[in-house]
């Protein structure tokens, strides 16, 4: 008696690993478009104010940046720009990782690295915008913004 070889079931249907239905990717898609438009305004506004208005690029020094951050308007501007740019960029790189990393583990580690970088930059940036001291003690007066002497 001979044993017959095992033949794969021809009707063995292919199955989706798991259903991942949610509005997450939908909101992500809409966010990328909306934040992109807002970032255009924020970034070019930032570049225009820093590099072209008044003395232009030569005006940038500690006093210039310090002075800017004493105003709640620029604090908000920079905060929104930081967060939108970071989320927009992180989501973009997340998409690229999903597209190109074929192995589950590679994808996992790349994403861990990406989200770590996101948290570090965003937390640090937010902290700087809100806790920045424009008038450090013992600093030469000519390097400080005008608000310090007032």
């Amino acid at each position: 008696m001979t044993t017959s070889p095992a033949i794969a079931n021809p009707r063995d249907t292919y199955k989706r690993q798991k259903s991942t239905r949610s509005n997450f990717e939908l909101y992500g898609w809409v966010f990328m478009r909306a934040s992109g438009v807002i970032l255009l305004v924020l970034i070019f506004g930032h570049l225009f104010v820093n590099l072209m208005v008044g003395e232009g690029v030569n005006a940038i020094d500690f006093a210039f940046v310090g002075g800017k951050w004493t105003s709640p308007f620029w604090q908000t501007w920079d905060l929104v720009m930081l967060w939108l740019a970071m989320i927009h960029g992180t989501n973009g790189v997340r998409t690229i990782i999903n597209d190109y990393a074929e192995r589950d583990l590679t994808r996992l580690w790349l994403k861990i690295a990406l989200y770590t970088a996101f948290v570090v930059v965003t937390v640090l940036g937010t902290l700087v915008i809100f806790t920045f001291s424009p008038c450090p003690v013992d600093a030469p007066a000519e390097l400080l913004p005008s608000v310090c002497t007032a």
Binding site: T13, Y14, K15, R16, Q17, S19, T20, R21, S22, N23, F24, E25, L26, Y27, G28, W29, V30, N98, D99, Y100, E102
Partner: protein, 254 residues
């Protein structure tokens, strides 16, 4: 008296010029000495200016090497069996004339990408059809069945006319770079066939189909590279159809 032809026509039909053409075919024959390695094999056949790539493949199979394996059924661009990658582009072998793919150089013929190769140019279409089945490619209605046809204006028919042309050849899905790396992606063909019902005024299953495609592996994986639109042998504007499904989802969500 029966009518007879007095003079046989003296003008003979001019012979169609023939030429030699070389095909480099990607072969996969696990039972051969090559084992699990796919390899290229060149065949030179005599072809005519009116011949298609499928005719050349037939000539190889019938006159040179009977082991060459490929799918074809109607051989006239309707059944969608013989989608292959010719010179790096997905086409139907039965709709591609040899003279249009530069017969001066060897013509590359490979199986379509992204699906498991079974033998030579034959791939396992099951993952492709599984996605197709998932989007419910049939009419979904509620209420009592009408005693006559379900009527529709020509404008309503026009709305989804483009996507009714699909022949499920998989040329689009297997040209999609997202599908190459992520076999879980529904793929353009499934979305095109969902579009065909979502925008059909007689159908009431649009909500369910949008829900199915609102998946991490659904329409949001589309990167609008337009490979699918370029590959479609029926000229369906595939990328446009995918975008219309996306738009329907967004208007549904907000």
């Amino acid at each position: 008296m029966t009518a007879t032809i007095e003079d046989a026509p003296t003008t003979s039909v001019p012979e169609i010029p023939s030429f030699e053409v070389t095909l480099r075919v990607r072969r996969y024959l696990p039972e051969s000495s090559h084992g699990d390695e796919a390899y290229w094999e060149e065949f030179t056949v005599t072809a005519h200016g009116t011949d298609r790539v499928l005719d050349a493949l037939h000539k190889i199979k019938w006159e040179h090497d009977g082991s060459l394996t490929f799918r074809r059924s109607c051989a006239h661009g309707v059944c969608g069996s013989d989608a292959v990658r010719i010179n790096g582009r997905n086409r139907l072998a039965c709709k591609t004339l040899l003279k249009d793919v530069n017969p001066d150089k060897p013509i590359l013929v490979e199986p379509i990408k992204g699906l498991p190769v079974i033998k030579d140019l034959v791939v396992d279409m099951e993952p492709f059809f599984a996605s197709y089945r998932e989007i419910m490619p049939f009419l979904v209605t509620t209420g009592n069945e009408p005693s006559k046809e379900r009527l529709q204006s020509s404008e309503q028919r026009e709305r989804f006319d483009d996507t009714t042309k699909c022949i499920l050849c998989a040329a689009c899905t297997s040209s999609c770079p997202v599908f190459w790396t992520d076999g879980q992606y529904f793929g353009p063909a499934a979305i095109v066939n969902a579009h065909r019902f979502i925008f059909d005024s007689r159908d009431e299953g649009a909500e369910q189909r949008l829900e199915i495609l609102n998946d991490k592996e659904g329409v949001w994986r589309c990167r609008t590279t337009f490979n699918c639109s370029e590959a479609c042998p029926r000229g369906i504007e595939v990328t446009k159809a995918i975008q219309e499904v996306k738009r329907a989802m967004i208007t549904r969500a907000f």
